[in-house]
């Protein structure tokens, strides 16, 4: 997209909503995931205590972040893993490429890693002559469609099965018109097994990195991370520095929260713990900063570092459900993405904190109790401070403030509105300058304001008494 056709969330969302049937289908699909999460959480009597515990564990980790990172590196190195530090995506990608080139790797398989999305690793590697196959089924689907995932856990949630059928017909040779998920998944199974067997290296993300032991944990339902790292000898694990947890036993808290929050399952099918490379193999762990250390310095936004990338906030967000992940134009969409995005580029993502009705549901579902809706509100203040608000908003708020500060002016303006509005012809009230009035009627103007009515009543009561 060129900068002249730069679209912010409102325009993208309006396009999404315009396909009314599809927008409702998308909304229902994600609400279904939210309801599964509710059922799973309700089955755990100590659910709220778990959230509180997880929140405290992450807060402790962030406070001593540097110490825990050093401990993790020390422990992981003892186990035979190699730990790399990358300040930014360029460095991260360079490290990956160097490793792959050193081992003469031509084909890699990759399990879900939002971090590699953040670094735009795929196009970088492809440019350098390396075949990258995303092996998470949803990720593979969007990869074949040449588009980014629209959700961090359910990458293809915006795609209908018929569309997957068309895609697989073109790329995997499935029958034209076939849209049965079992049939299509079976075709993907065969296709991806070939890729696993032919791969020279496997790249994974990291769900949790254990400072105490130097181990990393990867969670999948498909087994693709395990297939990708148990055949080829080279395993590259990419993690954000905030994925750390202090103790191995802390995993008990997070493994109980993650899948229930994400999909409503009690646990992912596979929760794999890697403590050093396997015999004859190599394990490289790349830790990326890319602004996380800056976030840590902010009292307002530090808690967003606790995020375990479960996606629950997206599923519960009434705006995300009705606008789709692509409308956010950010690697991570939804409520958490609307906090992380502006931290990276406040101008590009200035509309995101406003793509929110401040309903607060996201904060209630977050397994690590990030105060998401409060941080979104805080971001609005920062964006206003940096003068990134559209001038119409700034002006109208300034004028409103002046009016509201002066009671006489407020009551005067109100009186005028109540007199004049009923006299105006409809076309003057409802036109393209009135966004409220596109689909809604304005309230009927009463003759008197409340304060006038109260005074009148009180005066007459006084007279009567």
């Amino acid at each position: 997209m060129s900068s002249t056709s730069k679209k912010y969330h409102p325009q993208e969302a309006a396009e999404f909503v315009a396909d009314n049937e599809r927008a409702h289908w998308h909304d229902k699909a994600l609400w279904f995931v939210r309801s599964k999460r509710d059922k799973a959480a309700a089955a755990v009597p100590e659910w709220e205590a778990l959230r509180e515990t997880a929140s405290q564990i992450k807060a402790h980790m962030v406070a001593k972040h540097a110490d825990f990172l050093e401990q993790f590196e020390e422990q992981a190195t003892k186990l035979g893993a190699v730990v790399h530090w990358a300040k930014n995506p360029e460095e991260h990608n360079r490290i990956v490429l160097e490793l792959l080139q050193k081992h003469e790797v031509k084909r890699i398989v990759k399990s879900k890693s939002m971090l590699t999305e953040e670094c735009h690793l795929n196009p970088f590697l492809e440019k350098n002559g390396i075949e990258v196959v995303d092996t998470d089924l949803g990720e593979r689907i969007v990869q074949l469609r040449n588009e980014p995932p629209s959700h961090i856990v359910l990458p293809a949630i915006h795609i209908k099965k018929g569309e997957v059928g068309e895609l697989f017909h073109e790329y995997l040779g499935t029958e034209k018109g076939a849209d049965d998920p079992d049939y299509l998944t079976e075709a993907a199974r065969h296709h991806l097994r070939e890729k696993f067997l032919a791969a020279d290296a496997g790249i994974t993300g990291v769900n949790f990195a254990i400072a105490e032991t130097g181990g990393i944990v990867v969670c999948t339902n498909e087994g693709n991370a395990d297939l990708g790292t148990s055949l080829a000898k080279l395993h590259i694990a990419c993690m954000g520095i905030e994925k750390l947890i202090p103790r191995a036993q802390d995993l008990s808290v997070f493994t109980r929260l993650l899948a229930r929050s994400a999909t409503g399952q009690p646990i992912t099918t596979y929760t794999s713990h890697f403590h050093g490379p396997r015999e004859g193999g190599e394990l490289h762990i790349i830790m990326l900063d890319n602004g996380r250390s800056v976030l840590r310095q902010s009292d307002d936004f530090r808690r967003s570092l606790s995020c375990i990338r479960c996606g629950a906030c997206m599923n519960t967000c009434p705006v995300y459900r009705r606008s789709g992940g692509h409308s956010y134009n950010n690697t991570v969409p939804g409520p958490i993405g609307s906090i992380l995005g502006p931290a990276m580029d406040a101008e590009k993502h200035s509309s995101l904190p406003f793509a929110c009705s401040l309903c607060g549901s996201c904060s209630d579902v977050c397994p690590v109790k990030i105060d998401l809706h409060h941080q979104l509100l805080k971001w609005r203040g920062k964006i206003a401070e940096r003068k990134l608000l559209p001038w119409t908003k700034r002006m109208s708020m300034k004028m409103a403030s002046i009016v509201l500060r002066n009671t006489w002016l407020f009551t005067l303006m109100g009186g005028i509105a109540r007199k004049v509005m009923p006299l105006m012809p409809r076309f003057l009230v409802y036109n393209r300058f009135n966004d409220w009035g596109k689909q809604r009627d304005l309230p009927a103007m009463p003759k008197q304001s409340f304060r006038q009515q109260l005074k009148k009543r009180n005066d007459s009561q006084k007279r009567d008494s």
Partner: protein, 197 residues
């Protein structure tokens, strides 16, 4: 300055108050009937759970399960269960691509989610747990725990040893949220909880 030193410097810029690491010694869920709950959980995640007395019963039961009975290449990592693929004789794990059925030992099972802790301590090629079309895990009945806290208390992470909680067969719902069992890993999971091991 290296990236590492820059990152650490940035992370040490702010001295933050350190909230205490919370104790995990809390009131976690305990089930009245742990066996029933485990069985229920395994079923809920798409697996089958069998309670038997001895390993010989496992062999008998497996003989009734079609993918084992009709499988051409069976890899058994359990003494007392028959197989025809010996991992120790194989150097290249890629050769395991046509294994139909794998049988392995689990250390313990978790009632809250049907997960079983499996390590590759005595497994030359761990890929067989994922590459095999079908899998069966065997755990001692005495080793059922209520929840993940009790589970992790039993786990000792050892360098070079891969450990995985496996809960049911592989699955995906990536195509219009339709649950499909048998995504990339095992298509089915039969769990045997054995009284006398």
């Amino acid at each position: 300055m290296t990236h590492k030193s820059e990152i650490l410097k940035a992370l040490r810029k702010n001295l933050l108050p350190e909230p205490a690491l919370p104790s995990l010694d809390q009131e976690w869920i305990v089930y009245e009937d742990i066996n029933a709950q485990f069985e229920q959980s395994v079923a809920a995640v798409g697996g089958q759970c069998h309670f038997v007395d001895n390993i010989s019963d496992v062999q008998t039961r497996l003989g009734e399960i079609e993918p084992y009975r009709d499988g051409k290449k069976i890899c058994s990592l359990v003494n007392g269960v028959e197989g025809n693929v010996d991992l120790d004789q194989i150097d290249d794990p890629h050769e395991l691509e046509d294994v139909d059925f794998a049988v392995a030992r689990g250390h313990f099972g978790v009632a809250e989610n049907g997960a079983i802790w499996v390590t590759d301590e005595h497994v030359k090629h761990r890929v067989v747990l994922f590459l095999s079309q079908h899998i069966s895990l065997i755990i001692p009945k005495s080793e059922l725990v209520n929840n993940m806290h009790e589970g992790y208390a039993r786990v000792k992470h050892v360098g070079g040893v891969f450990g995985v909680f496996i809960s049911g067969p592989s699955k995906t719902a990536d195509i219009e949220q339709s649950l499909v069992i048998g995504a990339h890993g095992a298509r089915s999971m039969n769990v045997f909880v054995v009284e006398n091991v």
